[in-house]
Symmetry: C2
Subunit: 357 residues, 2 copies
């Protein structure tokens, strides 16, 4: 299993020098692409896209056919892990993900078990293998999972939540119970990501989408601690190659130093953080990934060029930057705007390195 021909993304994550700044986009395979919507219609549902290795491969490859992206990301959903625990994931039209059997009783929490990823999440491992074949050594493949706290939010609330009322009441009133859920989740995520690594992904990313909703001390105790637990249990190399790990806590700008110390290779940043200031706070300990406001992609080509150059200038020309959005591509994004972004990042970052940026 040789390195991909384009390994710019992997080298940037390890803070090695690169000829340009690599770029990929969270949710780069998604509803803004007509071909994605066509595949989804054929599959019948979003969940079927995730569960069928053939469909998952097809949509994973779609943005790579359009744009010169420097990495592919496994098409899946963060909630397949609690689904494999038996909670019954489904998508209610217009409502987002929900669980048929959210955690409501103490005995349900005590009964939680770590699923064997090679059994109940076999379809994900099959998708990883099939995507690797489709990529044919071109660019790296990113595997991913939700963070233990973010998974717990959905498992306890039963779906999306504006205020995280149930999970926070448990946090303040029954921290022992929440810690139990988080420990099971951390062990499940570790096993799940290690299976993805064994199946062929070149890097992994942990999405801590809701960690930013926590109070400062609670973030450390109920989210960061379990991110560190996972990172210390991950396979960090395969066949002599380092498998870099990225941690992304949306809204985590207050805790960058601590996230950088979690054991990850790179920290993902949302758009509210200034990249240059973040680099100043974190130093050279880890690489940074981010952080253009996804809404820039709704604006004119000129605005996209201006704002993406601003992000590149903010980081500067040194090594250790992977360009990305600060959150996923939104559905209303005109596909041609993503092309403008990718070309601008490549061209401008090459010019930066030659002193012309």
């Amino acid at each position: 299993m040789p390195r991909p021909r384009n390994d710019t993304f992997l080298r940037a994550l390890l803070r090695e020098a690169t000829e340009y700044t690599p770029v990929w986009l969270m949710r780069q395979a998604g509803r803004y692409l007509p071909e994605y919507n066509e595949t989804r219609a054929r599959a019948g549902s979003f969940l079927e896209l995730c569960r069928s290795p053939a469909f998952a491969t097809e949509v994973t490859m779609q943005p790579l056919a359009r744009y010169e992206l420097d990495a592919a990301i496994l098409f899946s959903d963060i909630l397949v892990v609690p689904d494999a625990m038996g909670l019954g994931l489904y998508f209610a039209e217009g409502e987002g993900p929900r669980f048929e059997r959210p955690l409501r009783e103490e005995w349900e929490i005590r009964d939680l078990e770590v699923p064997d990823p090679y059994v109940s999440l076999r379809y994900v491992m099959d998708a990883v293998a099939e995507i690797r074949r489709a990529l044919d050594g071109s660019v790296p493949l990113i595997g991913f999972s939700g963070s233990p706290f973010t998974l717990a939010c959905y498992m306890i609330e039963g779906g999306s939540s504006e205020d995280f009322r149930r999970v926070k009441t448990m946090l303040y009133d029954r921290p022992d119970l929440l810690h139990h859920v988080l420990d099971v989740n951390a062990r499940a995520v570790t096993a799940y990501l290690n299976a993805q690594i064994e199946s062929g992904v070149n890097a992994v990313m942990i999405f801590d989408t809701w960690g930013g909703a926590l109070a400062c001390g609670a973030y450390r105790e109920f989210s960061l601690r379990y991110l560190s637990q996972i990172l210390s249990g991950l396979l960090r190399s395969r066949e002599g190659h380092r498998i870099p790990a990225i941690v992304f806590t949306k809204g985590g700008g207050n805790w960058l130093e601590e996230i950088a110390g979690s054991g990850c290779d790179a920290v993902g940043l949302d758009w509210c953080v200034d990249l240059g200031a973040a680099r100043g706070r974190i130093g050279d300990r880890v690489a940074l990934q981010g952080n253009l406001d996804p809404m820039v992609l709704l604006a004119s080509p000129e605005a996209i060029q201006r704002e993406s150059r601003r992000v590149l200038d903010s980081f500067g020309a040194g090594p250790g930057h992977v360009f990305n959005l600060g959150h996923g591509v939104i559905q209303h994004t005109p596909p041609e705007n993503v092309g403008v972004l990718v070309r601008t990042v490549h061209e401008y970052s090459r010019a930066q390195r030659s002193g012309g940026g």
Copy 2:
């Protein structure tokens, strides 16, 4: 117009020593109180509560009858200012605030005018005067407004938004137009807050509820700049007494130093920031207000005591802290829990000052 008999809140905002840490709560008059719901039912609607000085006074006073709060806050809505500009505020059941005539066309933006607060917002000034009479010199009255950017979000989106798609597209594509809206808003808010000050409020607070959704540079250019413009135009004293101004940018933890330099007397903090760390970053330049997670009020009395003491410990015993939540009291809060919080803050902060905390 003498100082209120209990001026602890005002002294804390000016970083003077106080015998205990004063406390009030954002949305302390609200749907968690049965007597509020009773008044609202009599009034017929939320807007009628705002527009009738008698009803506004009644609900402003309700939490003061239950709890030993150190300040009252004018009962009103941040969107009365754009309503006075002619946008037509209404509340759709279960949907939150909406405007009948959101800003869609350039000419609508060019036609915006600063309303005379003594004419189209006369009912607010009448409410301020009536609440002052009802308070009868007991505790200070806080006036407030939304920030120019937060008002612009509603004016341009037409209501609440998950992604601020319209306002951000204008920000990136037509910054000149958005700056025009923000300048009109800043002048309108300045005139509105000055009228409140002339009508009798003892302090003012600007709610920048959505500033935290902006990218770092955009926050400075499109929100903070207009906060500073307002602060430089505010009447800062009345009859020899300083009128302190509090600025609260929800999600503004990345920019505390800059907010502290905006010209305000105090910075409001959401629950994601560590108070002690914030004090370290800001120093003694301004007072701090906050920052308990509102969800703590759904937990047990023991958890409320533990978490509110943690906030007090984090700030320490020095002057310059006003205790508050990091956001408004939520509807599902058991009223007796607010009593536990207020008593704990008073008792524990007295003990801190006597060295027993």
